[in-house]
């Protein structure tokens, strides 16, 4: 891999500067990314589809726009999209056999926003099937491997996004987070991930897993890069009733603000048990960095947070069982050969098109919504969800941001947890709370344990992305964990 030339700069901010100064063209930069993607694919399997031709013509268009004096801050910057976002004329698989041949007739709002900002799409990134998984092993297109050690998982479901950014195949990628699917892979791959407030970015064109939890976000090298890219993909969308009609602030403007007077709450429940000792050590060190930066740190409690995993595994499957009903073999997606009748068409198309984890969740969700079980499961879970939200609201009365680990452990071996869904689900124990409450959250690289990256999680009140990016950025100015790349891909 050492023969592989590095990108001219590791970050979007750096590349945008290079493009602006004319140090290289978008076409040259795009070629360099495509080369790295091609070299990385056999080992990492981060991409489902590489759109080389489209990328080069978009890059040419970006260079033309720049020559004509019509370049914005992101014009010509190559990125890639998680394969959950619909992209016009390009197949959008959601990591599933069900959609292996599905070509979307339209762009997701997030994709359209980033396209309008001048970014160049390199391709579509691998993911857990329908975003259901924490290891990227449920993809129909095979597992993604962790660039720090190809025997390990990259996390999931946005494993392709995290691995591609960690291996510097692409400077940034879109991703989605329903229960930790941005933050956990970001932590396991040593990159920066942000899940904005629920409703900050439109869900239109983002294939639904659990509609009340799904949120589009980013995986980047730095918080500054996230601040650059978040604006164009955010905002109210009249096609998504749950997107929020409030102006998108200039995230770059507040990035360097001082942390004097900031109060950070350390969530006691995040340190109770199950947290790897090495990981805990890195988190404690990060807390010390913040204290040096002038932040006050205090312990807070969210007593209902330990209930977040069981709550999530009622709510998310319930919604998914309904959301995935449209994949019936009638209008699009996989259809079985020679169906004998309607029931056969349904059962074989779905039986063949969905993988085991998706089926497990559809069955769980169908069960918890069934007559006689609805109250005991779905309604009770919704009540617990409110308690968890209330816990967070109480905590934010005393502090500006919450802090803790992103994941209980560093990356684990491919295959290690495949046979035990409960253990797999516990990977998201620290991340799910933010989804249940609709809060923005981030994961930042904060060092290594056993040679593997550890992620630091920040959780903020609704619409506090600006403050959170500022707090993350100041940390990244004090540390260089986010700039560490696996040696094989440096």
């Amino acid at each position: 891999m050492s023969a592989l030339p590095p990108l001219p700069a590791p970050t979007v901010a750096g590349l945008a500067r290079g493009l602006h100064r004319g140090e290289y063209s978008s076409v040259e930069l795009t070629r360099a990314c495509l080369e790295r993607i091609a070299a990385g694919q056999p080992e990492l399997n981060a991409f489902v589809t590489v759109t080389a031709e489209g990328a080069l013509s978009a890059a040419q268009a970006a260079d033309d726009a720049r020559a004509a004096g019509r370049a914005g801050p992101l014009t010509g910057v190559p990125i890639a999209h998680k394969d959950i976002f619909c992209t016009e004329g390009v197949r959008t698989t959601c990591g599933s056999k069900m959609l292996a041949e599905f070509v979307s007739p339209y762009d997701a709002t997030v994709v359209a926003g980033l396209k309008a900002a001048g970014t160049v799409m390199l391709g579509k990134l691998n993911m857990d099937e329908f975003a259901m998984g924490s290891s990227n092993e449920t993809s129909f297109f095979g597992p993604v491997r962790n660039p720090w050690d190809p025997a390990l998982v990259p996390g999931g479901s946005s494993g392709g996004s995290a691995a591609a950014v960690a291996a510097r195949l692409v400077p940034a990628a879109t991703a989605t987070d329903t229960g930790g699917s941005i933050r956990q892979p970001a932590a396991l791959c040593g990159v920066t991930g942000i899940k904005p407030t629920y409703g900050r970015a439109s869900r239109y064109g983002m294939i639904a897993f659990a509609s009340s939890l799904d949120q589009a976000g980013l995986i980047t090298v730095s918080a500054e890069d996230a601040a650059l890219l978040l604006g164009p993909m955010s905002g109210f969308d009249p096609r998504d009733s749950t997107s929020v009609d409030s102006p998108v602030p200039d995230y770059m403007a507040t990035l360097g603000d001082s942390l004097e007077g900031l109060t950070i709450g350390v969530v006691r429940e995040f340190f109770d048990k199950g947290l790897d000792g090495g990981c805990e050590q890195r988190i404690r060190e990060a807390i010390a960095v913040y204290e040096r930066l002038g932040a006050k740190v205090r312990e807070v409690s969210c007593p209902n947070l330990p209930l977040s995993v069981p709550t999530y595994y009622v709510v998310a499957p319930a919604e998914c069982s309904s959301n995935l009903a449209r994949f019936d073999g009638v209008r699009f997606g996989h259809r079985c050969d020679s169906p004998r009748n309607l029931t056969d068409l349904y059962s074989r198309s779905r039986g063949e098109g969905f993988g085991a984890e998706v089926k497990r969740r559809i069955m769980t969700g169908t069960y918890v919504l069934s007559a006689g079980y609805f109250d005991a499961y779905y309604l009770k879970a919704q009540r617990v969800r409110q308690l968890i939200s209330a816990d967070f609201a109480r905590a934010f009365a005393d502090c500006d941001l919450l802090l803790g680990p992103t994941s209980p452990t560093t990356a684990f071996a491919i295959g290690a947890k495949c046979d035990d869904p409960i253990t797999m689900y516990l990977n998201d124990i620290y991340t799910i709370g933010a989804n249940l409450a609709g809060l923005p959250a981030m994961s930042l690289p904060c060092g290594f344990a056993g040679g593997l990256p550890v992620g630091l999680q920040l959780i903020g009140p609704h619409f506090s992305e600006g403050r959170m990016l500022n707090v993350a950025h100041r940390y990244q100015q004090e540390t260089d964990w986010h700039l560490r790349a696996p040696s094989a891909w440096a």
Partner: protein, 497 residues
């Protein structure tokens, strides 16, 4: 008219049931398609009759990634309906998903309202055939999307799917089980039909499926406290079918119970060709719809100010209009009811009356009588007839000012209907002006008396009944144009000698 005849026939069946000590219990679920231009959750057009799948966009097709956005006009129309039935408008209503698989249901769920409908309890008062008034409770009315259609015709061995109708806004109006006969059910359904058309929220076209209903029917021993087990008859799209289906079902259930059987709770389909209901699926085989709040849509929050603004736009409703016709125009309850059954007819009547300026009963008779009969005969809408309100008012005015007799007026009306000419034009052209000249009438009387000396002698000797004979002869001689009142008076004097 044929409708009423059928009703009269079937009423016998009801009575038979009652005689044997059975009581029928009926509740209706009426589906009215809201007259919005676009669908309830997408921008596709809702016009009827387009080529299959030409009015279905990605949202209607349930494509991956698409999301529903609520059509505010559908909400306004539902609020209109709620206010018109005096119902409570829910300040917060919630869309839910009703999950089931069917090829014409693209998403695998129908978006409907379940626990929190937009319109809560209300009621309508219906007038039964015997003039009795009855209050029918309305449990709720909720917004939902329609499904598409499965097509089998011309597709041997295949099923075609037309999603033009998928996502069309419906309001489902659920009644209490307050109706006790098919006739009551029809009276209620017609009342709702009139109301939604008054409000302009539904075109009421039953052939196109814009207004249809499901009937829940059960029977019980008279005096029983508990309802019997009900059957639900699906998708009835004409008043006649509703009546026939209910009466068939009542008879079926009574026969079943009297022969020691049990009614099974099930969904049944009415076959209009055979005039019977057939089992579609039993409750055991029914879907568990797994309703839950749709996370793609926010709760619908209605401010009191919005509701009041909608209330201010409500037209005068049929009951209020009928009461006004009775109070201000001196019409009978029956006439007022007939005139207000259609907003267009009521408006036409008021237009005619205003132009004539007097004689509301005469105006009403003409609108309900010849005018409506001709509309029915030619299957025309009010606005499509050649006789407009000005023309009919012209005709009525000539009766009022005695230019023509009521009898001649019918002949003139027919000519107006065919030609589109005014009453005056027809009167002039045909020379139908009434003879009010005393001399002319007297001359005709003299001639008739001279020609019929025998009858004259008989009359004068006491055969009073011959008076009618002389009236007829004079009318014949004047071509029917003699003013009847004058003729009577003059004839009496002359005959008396």
């Amino acid at each position: 008219m044929g409708l009423n005849m059928a009703g009269t026939d079937m009423a016998g069946t009801d009575m038979a049931g009652a005689d044997m000590g059975w009581e029928t219990v009926i509740g209706l679920e009426i589906h009215a398609q809201l007259a919005t231009r676009s669908k309830i959750f997408s921008g596709s057009a809702t016009a009827y009759g387009a080529l299959p799948n030409t009015q279905a966009n990605l949202v209607d097709l349930g494509y991956p990634g698409v999301l529903p956005v609520l059509n505010g006009e559908a909400v306004r129309m539902a609020v209109c309906f709620g206010l018109a039935i005096g119902a409570r408008i829910s300040p917060r209503s919630v869309f839910a998903r009703k999950n089931y698989f069917y090829p014409d249901l693209p998403k695998g769920y129908q978006i409907s309202q379940y626990e929190l409908p937009i319109v809560a309890e209300g009621a309508l008062e219906v007038v039964l055939d015997d003039g009795e008034r009855k209050r029918i409770g309305i449990t709720r009315a909720h917004l939902e999307e329609d499904a598409g259609k499965s097509l089998h015709e011309g597709l041997p061995g295949l099923t075609g799917i037309d999603l033009n109708r998928a996502g069309t806004p419906l309001i489902e109006i659920v009644s209490e089980p307050d109706m006790r006969s098919a006739r009551e059910a029809i009276a209620y359904m017609k009342k709702v039909h009139t109301l939604v058309r008054y409000l302009g929220i539904c075109d009421g076209n039953m052939q196109e499926g814009s207004f249809r209903c499901d009937a829940n029917v059960s029977v019980r021993r008279r005096g029983a406290a508990q309802f019997g087990t009900r059957a639900e008859i699906k998708n009835l799209n004409s008043f006649r079918f509703v009546e026939k289906a209910i009466n068939f079902e009542v008879e079926r259930q009574i026969e079943l119970l009297e022969s020691g059987g049990k009614v099974v709770q099930e969904t049944r389909l009415y076959d209009p060709d055979k005039g019977e209901t057939r089992s579609m699926r039993s409750k055991e085989a029914a879907n568990d719809y797994r309703y839950f709040p749709d996370p793609d849509l926010l709760p619908v929050l209605l401010e009191p100010a919005f509701v009041e603004a909608v209330r201010a736009t409500l037209p005068e409703l049929p009951d209020a209009k009928a009461a006004r016709f009775v109070r201000d125009h001196g019409l009978s309850d029956y006439d007022a009811g007939v005139l207000t059954a259609s907003r267009e007819i009521a408006a036409f009547y008021e237009d005619v009356l205003q132009r004539v300026g007097s004689d509301p009963k005469l105006c009403a008779n003409w609108v309900m009588g010849d005018f409506s009969a001709f509309l029915n005969r030619d299957n025309l809408e009010v606005g499509a007839a050649k006789v407009d309100a000005a023309h009919l008012a012209g005709l009525v005015s000539r009766i009022v000012d005695a230019t023509i007799s009521g009898k001649i007026a019918k002949e003139i009306f027919e000519a107006m209907w065919e030609s589109g000419a005014s009453a005056d034009a027809v009167i002039e052209q045909k020379g139908l002006r009434q003879i009010t000249d005393t001399g002319a009438i007297e001359a005709a009387i003299d001639e008739v008396m001279a020609k019929n000396p025998g009858q004259l002698a008989d009359y004068r000797s006491g055969k009073d009944k011959l008076f009618g004979f002389f009236v007829g002869q004079v009318m014949k001689a004047t071509g029917g144009k003699a003013n009847p009142a004058q003729l009577n008076e003059l004839l009496k004097a002359k005959l008396a000698g």
